[in-house]
């Protein structure tokens, strides 16, 4: 214990190690908090969920923080959901059977670009007579635009951009041919061309219900060109889900694989050295065979033919690394340790082979393998990303690698959706650097020979 504290003090002398430890700490905290906030099954359901889960999100929207760096503020998503009690709701009984429901959604629009689309999702309950909905749009300069009307079914959506009549009306108003309603509604008619009119807009959704127990709910979404702190992908999914959940998955995969391979390799080296003779030479030969078996191609083959489960891959990585090349290093160290007097003492009092190997030999070099484990973590974190990049990522789990893979196959770099690749890549880099920096410093602390140089 005292030795450990001393090493801890030595470690603090390396600024890179301290930075690395802070990064590792952040990643670990995110890994612990994420599953608590968003449980595993929910995250998977959310990530696998289709249009129903994500319909209120824009497609391929950049993260909100992009606006901090650009002069023009991109439109963010504005959404009102009457089921959640958002906005104002006024009901009025017009006659015995007829009621009027009015949803008043008032919002600020301080952005410099137009939203890519405007949609109203409505849900109505009725038995025979369908309700009727009229949309009224009030601009900051006091104009009133009749933005459309429709008869909602049980579940329907109204897309402003597909309403020809609204488009013609806006053409007259703005004087621009073929104006898209989602642009025309926000346009400043005083200015030349398309210019956003800043200020407070009001949308009134007026529903007429012709049955006493008929009901109407309406959700209005003005889609953004930026959305959330991480943006969205081509399926309108919020990338932050995958960024957050990728952290515990990457940490788990990296750490388990690093610990698994190192501990098994070391134990096998210890067994070989202790028994010597044919056991030792068999292990040596197997190591040589193993060096020639290409790990990644085999992983890919298994991923293609059997299963792509992350946990199966983890098991395979460990199995294929059992006879890894590092056995040679451990063997050299164990050969020295084997000759130490305390091993003779153990043998003299009649300790069993297994006891000597696992209670005396292995613990002796445990401090040496700690840097080894830490430096190995990034290798496996990147291995998972590499598999995902080849399209062999786990089919259900949202990981960093799968984000990069999605982005790559959707041509994110060609289309300029840089955030889509840069965010997971930055996290991968952060994880890689953090562990590598700590591992480097640990190596120097535990190997004094390196420290002198």
């Amino acid at each position: 214990m005292a030795a450990l504290t001393r090493r801890w003090h030595q470690l603090r002398n390396y600024p890179s190690a301290v930075i690395g430890l802070v990064f590792v700490g952040v990643l670990v905290i995110v890994s612990i908090v994420t599953p608590l906030v968003l449980p595993y099954s929910e995250a998977i359901a959310l990530w696998r969920g289709g249009a129903a889960e994500w319909r209120a999100n824009p497609r391929n929207a950049a993260p909100v923080w992009q606006n901090w760096f650009t002069e023009t503020d991109q439109a963010a998503t504005i959404a009102f959901d009457s089921r959640e009690g958002e906005g104002e709701r006024v009901e009025e009984q017009l006659s015995a059977d007829t009621r009027e429901v009015r949803f008043i959604y008032e919002f600020e629009f301080p952005y410099d670009t137009f939203p890519p689309e405007l949609i109203i999702f409505s849900e109505a309950t009725y038995s025979a007579k369908q309700p009727f909905v009229e949309l009224l749009w009030y601009t900051p300069d006091g104009r009133e635009v009749r933005a459309g009307e429709f008869t909602p079914t049980r579940s329907s959506s109204f897309r402003f951009d597909q309403d020809r009549r609204l488009q013609r009306r806006l053409e007259r108003e703005t004087g621009i041919d073929d104006v898209r309603p989602s642009e025309g509604l926000f346009d400043d008619p005083e200015q030349e061309g398309l210019q956003v009119l800043h200020g407070t807009y009001r949308l009134e959704i007026v529903g007429l219900l012709f049955e006493p127990d008929s009901e109407l709910e309406a959700t209005f979404v003005s889609y953004g060109r930026v959305h959330g702190w991480a943006g969205t992908d081509h399926l309108r999914r919020d990338i932050s889900v995958a960024l957050l959940w990728g952290t515990p998955l990457a940490m788990a995969f990296g750490l388990l694989a690093a610990v698994g391979t190192t501990v098994t390799t070391m134990s096998i080296a210890a067994v070989g050295v202790w028994f010597g003779g044919w056991v030792d030479s068999l292990i040596q030969r197997l190591t040589e065979v193993n060096a020639i078996i290409p790990l990644l191609p085999i992983l890919i083959m298994v991923g293609t033919l059997y299963s792509r489960s992350l946990w199966l891959m983890l098991g395979l990585v460990i199995i294929l690394s059992i006879f890894g090349l590092s056995i040679k290093n451990y063997r050299a160290i164990f050969l020295q340790v084997k000759e130490l007097p305390y091993i003779d003492a153990a043998r003299a009092y009649g300790a069993s082979n297994m006891r000597i190997i696992f209670r005396y030999l292995v613990p002796r070099i445990l401090p040496l393998i700690i840097p080894q484990i830490v430096t190995l973590v990034p290798t496996f974190v990147f291995l998972e990303a590499a598999l995902a990049l080849l399209g062999l990522g786990d089919p259900v789990l949202p990981t960093w690698g799968k984000l990069i893979n999605d982005a790559n196959s959707e041509g994110a770099l060609y289309s300029g959706y840089y955030y889509w690749i840069l965010q997971p890549a930055a996290l991968l880099m952060l994880a890689g650097l953090a562990f590598a920096m700590v591992g480097f410093a640990l190596d120097r602390v535990f190997n004094p020979r390196l420290r002198e140089i």
Partner: protein, 387 residues
Amino acid sequence: MATELSAGELNLEEEVDVETIEASAREARLKNARRLLRYTLLKLIALVFTVAIGVYITIIVANMGGEVDKIRLATIRENVALAAVADPAFQQMSTEERRALLDRRVELEIEQYGLDRPFIQRSFSYLRDALLLDLGYAEGLVSDSGSRQVRNIILERLPPTLLLFGTAQLLLFFGALAFGLSLSRRYGSFVDKVVLALAPTSAAPGWFYGLFLILIFAALLQVLPFGGMVSAPPPESRLEYALSLGEHMILPVAAWLMAAIFLTTYNWRTFFLIYSSEDYVEMARAKGLPDRMIERRYILRPTLPNIITSFSLLVITLWSGAIIHETVFNWPGIGRLYYQAIGLFDTPVIVANVVLYAYLLAITVFLLDFLYALVDPRVRVGEGSRN
């Protein structure tokens, strides 16, 4: 080397007959060469066995312990049925006759492919085929020359891979060697500290830096191509072709180097530093030998075996990275072929690719072992006898 040296010393004394000395020196050199040859041969035989075992394991995995044969059986049945339906004579037969004919044909096919033998027996014939890369026909892929033979498809893709990674590895080796030596000379300088600080960046693999390089140089600056090997259509003249090839190689090679050079340089510089604090180096300095000579003879020479070991480990681990590297850069080598084969579930090509990778690894290991034997006098002179 030891023998030559003693011969030289004896020559100075001018007492012994010069010819006998020359003869003994020649004999010693011959003996060395023979030892080297024997060492190489032993290594080669061991490697052949190793490759065979590795490939055998691959076959067991790829066949899912015989599962693939079921798929093959189904394919045979379907093909036979399709061929029969196209035959007008077949349509006039009765149902029983048809079934009997089909069964007979299927049995013939099964016998032809040897599917009636037990899996263990068959796995050895697969092993022979795999080692010869004689894996029949691809299921979906076609080579650029139009062949469906797996061997043709694979061998066609080998040269681009060797070109790209050969260049990258050679640059890495000599670059890190020169860089490491110069750093060990200026130990503690600013550049030295920068390399030390950058060494952890090698935690990320080459393809990862590749993504960034593509983003910067291809997408943003638009000065270098996104990927591929030559521009389309391929230039007519030789020179233009080579130039276009070089242009396409810049990014993948740079990404490969970025991922490995700092850590490698740092490690090798550490080797050099360890060896330059040896007593005999101090002695040489005291004698007043020029720095260049000290570096070459007293520092570089004894460090080389260590460096070659470290380099071979690096190359072995980097080979696997080639698949993703080529995929990211759209380089038409075996790595990308592997990726395409995965997409098409083309099992023969996948297996052949794994085998080829095993061969590449084995050849790499062999070459580096040979190199090691050349630079390490302990191997050349033979263990135990140090005369």
